[in-house]
């Protein structure tokens, strides 16, 4: 069977580079586009970029902590429900 182009590591690396290029471009575009910030914090450089990244990192960490307390095997309820 012919391999899909997405299965080739070379293309995946290429996609990664393109993605990182777009990331840099969105930050650099701040020099060209006038952002009219509503709040003071918004006028910090590349606010939406690092805020988005940090917010997601924080949410993943919170989820990990919650998992530590509340995670169970997915057969946890099987016994109690189906009788």
């Amino acid at each position: 069977m012919q391999k899909h182009w997405l299965d080739q590591p070379r293309n995946v690396r290429l996609l990664w580079r393109a993605f990182l290029g777009v990331l840099v471009a969105t930050v650099l575009a701040e020099f060209l586009v006038h952002l009219h910030p509503h709040f003071e914090i918004e006028s910090l450089f590349a606010f939406h970029a690092w805020y988005g990244f940090l917010a997601c990192a924080l949410m993943i960490i919170v989820a990990r902590v919650l998992a530590f307390l509340l995670k169970r095997r997915d057969s946890y309820y099987d016994r109690s429900d189906h009788d």
Binding site: H4, L6, D7, F19, V22, L23, T26, V27, A29, E30, V33, H34, L35, H36, H38, F39, I41, A46, F47, H48, A49, W50, Y51, G52, F53, A55, C56, A57, L58, M59, I60, V62, A63, R64, L66, A67, L70, K71, R72, R73, D74, Y76, Y77, S80, D81, H82
Partner: protein, 562 residues
Amino acid sequence: MIEWLAHPGLVLLLGAMLLPFLRARARAAAVLVLPLLALILVWRLPDGAGLSAQWLGYQLTPISLDKLSRLFATIFSIMAFGGGLFALAQPSRLELPAAYLYAGAAIGVVLAGDLISVFVFWELMAVGSTLVLWSAGTAAAWAASRRYVMIHLLGGVILFAGISGHVLGTGDTAFVRMAPDSIAHWLILIGFLVNAGAPPLSAWLPDAYPEASWSGTVFLSAFTTKTAVYVLLRGFPGTEFLIWVGLFMVFYGIVYALLENDMRRILAYSIVNQVGFMIAGIGIGTEMALNGAAAHAFTHIIYKGLLLMSAGSVLFATGKRKCSELGGLFHSMPAATICGIIGALAISSFPLTSGFVSKSMVSQAAADGHLTWVWLALAAASAGVFLHAGIKFPWFVFFQKDSGLRPADPPANMRWAMYGFSFLCLAIGVWPEALYRLLPHAVAYEPYTAAHVLTQLQLLLFSGLAFFVMLPWLKRTLTITLDTDWVYRVFLPALAMAAGRGIGGIQKGMLRGGAAIGARLSIAIRRHQRADGFLMRSRPTSVMAFWAMLVLLAYLIVNYIQ
């Protein structure tokens, strides 16, 4: 009587009753024509109160149209059509009639001008959605439907108590704007919030919806929570407490979805997340915010329906639901993959998709009101949506590792349902004016400014970076995360068992001790039953009169003190 047949909700409701008697082509035609007929009726009915009737002395207005109710009735009809097309080949003969009963009842709620009609259709929705769950025919669905109906009956009882209090207090049945200023109004608000998936009972949603069939969940995702958004929009706009409820739901949905392994449970948690945005908007309460909440409900129904169709196609083709068993499906399911990605981009509010033009109005309203913390929370949550649904769903289902599964794309009717909804997601994103014209308030908002597009791209793309950087932490495991349903699935049953054992013990003890006491008592009583015993003695009337007097006197004194 004939004008009742022009009620768009009743058209679907009664049509649903006909479906079981139709076969093959006639059935397919009815499935597709009924929602279109409802849609046409929604747009042909004039504004204002249409039908009215007297019932037990109360004024009922089952049809009362304005822009808000027309918006919701429109999207419910579109959803019924798309879901019906998707579900045409569903082997269960119960599911589609149940789904149309459910959709018709939802339209009934949004057209109703009085609280009694709202309540009647509200309960019919609970019946329809429970039947949709049942029709999946699995033991898990049966168990889930029992919990589901329990929560909704509870919500219904609370709502009924509130409506009774409101009608008794005001003497008016009309569904008007309220504020949480009395017990009755609080009860109504709580009844509404139960259906919205608000805390603390939000667990009913991810518990029940993913147990329906591959097509059933598509219907379930649309109606219950969005009618709740509608009634909150009409009944409690600007209730500040709703901002905090909404923000809680937004983050709850993200965190639980991040931990979830079942693809449809991920999407179910993300319903709570998205409804959270709408409820926060209702809480902010400005025209911009209310427009945003209404528009977001409209676009959400389409892209969430689309996402669940994509997931439904995968379930239909593979019989698998767990991310840990899926992956690499893009090889053989290009249609489901592309449509799933379009839905994922729309839910993430990417520019040129429907989510971008609707959700941003809520954020804009927070910015206009200088609500810094609310705005910051909404921005963080927008990033989180991309994280938990926008990338996570397509990545784990269609890409990640290759599971080796090579199922084909679903049949034509299911593909076309997905194409149609994909088109709507993009069309609304490109031409938002058409949607903006339907909103309850005049729209003075331009989503496509260079600044807005750029900041949104930064926010989303960098949350995408966070996803891939932290991917090892997001690896799927065969686990679930305990939610508040644990209380009524494990804790309360265990408590009841323990209490049962305790009561049983006491009973046994009492029986043993009681037998001894009883034997002695009966000997004592028998002793007094002899002719000259205490119980058989004859007494003078005056003594009886004296005691009666004493009782009456005591009664008088008690009455006086009160």
